[in-house]
């Protein structure tokens, strides 16, 4: 047992480090200028592409490097030590493009994949709808045949980055007389096409990371279809498989047990400081067990990857643990800080980590939902990992347009 790279991994890591040192120096600290995120992002992506750090695990025939998953992990680890503007490609290259090159026609792959890898076009993923969240197959956005192509009408929601995207992959209902998982079809859609309207969604905590997208008579050529007509559910699984990996953990630099330690130490108690209070110590231990437990679990997964094995199902526990933990840490930190826990903005307390912990209390409420709610994730663990029976599904074999009749 060790935490060391293998010789090959070490060599790769050295090369990555050297390349980053030479090329990412400007990202050593957070950006404070006023250049648009897209402009900065495109510049960084072009550099990565030129150096062979895009599509590390993808086939060489697609312009990838044919590398190992461990190389991708190593690159991510090293890159995350910088404040690089890489986030705008996460969904496109992480979820959309693999779906395109798995299910698209050769000429479509040729048209979109290399350009996306270079960062010249940005992608988004158009799946969720107001009536189709956890139950994604409940989508209602229609695609109807019109001559050689299709016409799209409907609404998507929770679309990250739709406002800056050039293209998206969209799942639509092409046959409402089929049961809900049948009759779906996936397309590539031009986000600049007439009839596409993007509206930001303001979140509870104030930020707007997501959008609603409305489609009114938007035309798509049939060659932009991904997979067969009616096969959209299967195609979407390619995308979702990648999403579960992407939405897994907590953001880098988010609060941990050490944050609570430093906060507690900075708050006076009746005698000494709050870190000497046993209820605080017990809570910090709880936090460590969960938070560090998840990062150690990730190391077990990476060890499997490193040794060429398929990772076990242990990584399925990550988000369900981390999201609730951040919520609990946020309220606990507030309680320790007493009235200082109320303050926001200009008058906010300067107690260490308090602001980040309070923010965590808000975004964790969203993290418990995004990319699979706590409830869906527990279902997945119970059913897929432990083999317990699925929920009874009254909707499974009923035509979509008659579903209202079976709702109980």
């Amino acid at each position: 047992m060790d935490f060391e790279d293998t010789a090959e991994e070490a060599a790769y890591r050295t090369a990555v480090r050297e390349w980053l040192a030479a090329n990412a120096a400007e990202y050593k600290t957070p950006y404070e200028g006023d250049v648009d995120l897209v402009v900065r992002g495109k510049a960084w992506q072009a550099k990565k592409y030129a150096a062979g750090y895009v599509g590390i695990t993808w086939p060489k025939a697609l312009g990838g490097q044919g590398g190992t998953p461990m190389q991708q992990i190593i690159f991510n680890q090293e890159e995350s030590k910088y404040w690089v503007p890489a986030g705008i490609y996460a969904i496109g290259l992480g979820m959309c493009i693999p779906t395109v090159f798995t299910h698209g026609r050769p000429e479509i792959i040729q048209r979109y994949v290399p350009v996306a890898m270079k960062g010249e076009e940005i992608w988004c993923q158009l799946f969720s709808e107001p009536a189709a969240g956890s139950d994604l197959a409940g989508i209602r956005t229609k695609a109807e045949r019109d001559g050689d192509g299709w016409v799209i009408n409907g609404q998507k929601v929770w679309t990250s980055g739709a406002h800056r995207a050039d293209y998206g992959i969209i799942v639509t209902r092409t046959d409402p007389t089929q049961p809900k998982h049948k009759g779906l079809t996936m397309f590539i859609i031009n986000m600049r096409a007439p009839g596409v309207e993007v509206r930001p969604i303001k979140q509870m905590a104030g930020a707007s990371e997501f959008n609603e997208v409305f489609f009114t008579d938007v035309r798509i050529a049939d060659d932009h279809r991904l997979g067969d007509v009616g096969d959209g559910w299967r195609v979407s699984l390619t995308t979702l498989m990648n999403e579960r990996l992407a939405v897994g953990g907590k953001p880098t630099n988010s609060p941990d047990a050490h944050s609570l330690i430093e906060l507690a130490r900075a708050i006076d108690a009746e005698e000494g400081n709050m870190l000497e209070q046993s209820h605080v110590r017990q809570k910090i231990a709880d936090v460590y067990i969960q938070d560090r437990g998840i990062s150690l679990t990730r190391m077990r997964t990476m060890s499997a990857i490193s040794s060429g094995r398929t990772p076990g199902p242990e990584s399925s526990i990550s988000k369900v643990v981390v999201a609730k933990l951040m919520q609990d840490m946020g309220s606990f930190a507030g309680d320790m800080a007493e009235s200082a826990g109320l303050l926001v903005g200009e008058d906010a307390s300067s107690l260490p980590h308090l602001d980040a912990l309070r923010q965590g209390y808000f975004w964790s409420a969203g993290l418990r939902i995004a990319g699979g709610t706590d409830e869906i994730l527990r279902n997945i663990i119970a059913e897929r990992v432990l083999g317990l029976p699925g929920d009874i599904r009254p909707d499974k074999s009923v035509p979509f347009n008659e579903l209202h009749k079976v709702v109980s």
Binding site: G133, M204, S339, G341, A348, S349, I369, E375, V406
Partner: protein, 374 residues
């Protein structure tokens, strides 16, 4: 055995609930959140007309002279409606503290205005740091002059006066009333987690004040004020918790996923049952607090702490799980879920945290043990 509200109090509840349902829908809270006003002045006028602002004030000062039980009922209903008015600050806290102070001249000056709603009061004890409600303030009081700052002060922008805690001679506690229009007082908006109840930072520079109590008398007044307020805020929190639960339950009855209303899934329905359980426990403790407050029973210290801790727990759980049950829509700015989520944090911290009150609770239990042994 009569551990329930009187028929008169229940009649007041019915009236209040109907009035607030009609006049204080959550869109009123949203308007105040999104706007610049410190509160909904029109609603506040209507509330004053109903006599709620003077509910407990003696008839001699223009009030209705009703009991604290009626006040508990209104606290719960205003909490349920999330009404964007300074009811908590002015009626539940400042008016009660002024009445308890026994300072007749000041009462004569302010109670009639409080009763008819023409004046708004608030209580300012927080100073932006992590001190607890029984700590020694940094705000200094020398003679009848205050120097220092208080924040966040709920409804501090709307208030006409504040009752503050301060440090007097030899570090002794002082409780004083300040006319916020006086010289030496400056106020600015101060953001908190709760966006509906607007708060202020108030800076005092040799500002004149009226001392209501000093030293031991001030300590007694503060301790009694904390206990009484703990009960009243427990009712407010209970009202909010019930409203959050009802919002969650209503949604769970409507929202469909995988061919069923989500309230049919045990993960959802059992969470709703847990909300109900916590709210029922909170209600029982709140009633115990009301009884102790009404009768001046020696159990007040225990009952107040129990009421506050149970109410904090109930509201926080209902608020968090209300978002969760709503899924993505619950996390949006447009959803009403955020009101409860934010109010939960406010009520958890605006009078000392559940940690502080849990400790107070055990002190009261220890004391009772000692009393029984004596």
């Amino acid at each position: 055995m009569n551990f329930q509200f009187s028929e008169e109090a229940e009649a007041l509840r019915d009236e209040a609930r109907k009035f607030l349902a009609a006049e204080s829908g959550r869109e009123k809270a949203r308007a105040v959140m999104n706007g610049d006003a410190t509160h909904d002045a029109a609603l506040w006028s209507r509330i004053a007309e109903l006599g709620w602002t003077g509910l407990r004030i003696p008839e001699a000062h223009g009030g209705l002279g009703l009991s604290v039980l009626e006040l508990c009922v209104l606290a719960e209903e205003v909490g349920r409606a999330l009404s964007p008015v300074p009811f908590t600050s002015s009626v539940l806290m400042a008016t009660e503290l002024l009445m308890a102070s026994g300072h007749e001249a000041t009462q004569a000056a302010w109670l009639p205005k409080l009763a008819d709603g023409s004046a708004i009061g608030t209580v300012a004890w927080m100073e932006g740091d992590a001190t607890r409600p029984d700590g020694t303030p940094k705000l200094s009081c020398s003679g009848d002059r205050l120097t220092g700052a208080k924040l966040p002060v709920a409804d501090g922008l709307a208030a006409d006066f504040a009752i503050v805690t301060a440090r007097g001679e030899a570090g002794a506690l002082v409780i004083a009333l300040v006319d916020l229009s006086a010289t030496g007082v400056s106020r600015s908006a101060c953001d908190t987690v709760d966006l509906v109840r607007k708060s202020a930072k108030i800076v005092f520079s040799d500002a004149p004040c009226t001392v209501l109590a000093r030293a031991d008398e001030a300590e007694r007044l503060r301790a009694r004020h904390l206990q009484g307020t703990a009960v009243l805020l427990a009712f407010e929190g209970l009202g909010s918790a019930d409203a959050a639960m009802e919002m969650a339950v209503d949604y769970a009855k409507e929202r469909v996923a995988f061919g069923r209303r989500i309230g049919g899934y045990q993960a959802v329905k059992h969470r709703c049952a847990d909300m109900y359980i916590k709210n029922q426990l909170a209600r029982s403790h709140a009633y115990y607090g009301a009884w102790a407050l009404l009768t001046g029973a020696p159990e007040l210290a225990l009952a107040a702490a129990g009421a506050r801790v149970a109410a904090i727990d109930a509201l926080q759980f209902a608020a968090e799980e209300n978002v969760q049950l709503h899924g993505g829509i619950g996390f949006t700015w447009e959803s009403d879920c955020q009101f409860f989520y934010r109010r939960g944090r406010l009520l958890a911290l605006n009078l000392g945290s559940r940690t502080f009150w849990s400790d107070q609770l055990v002190r009261a239990l220890e004391q009772r043990n000692t009393d029984l042994a004596a």
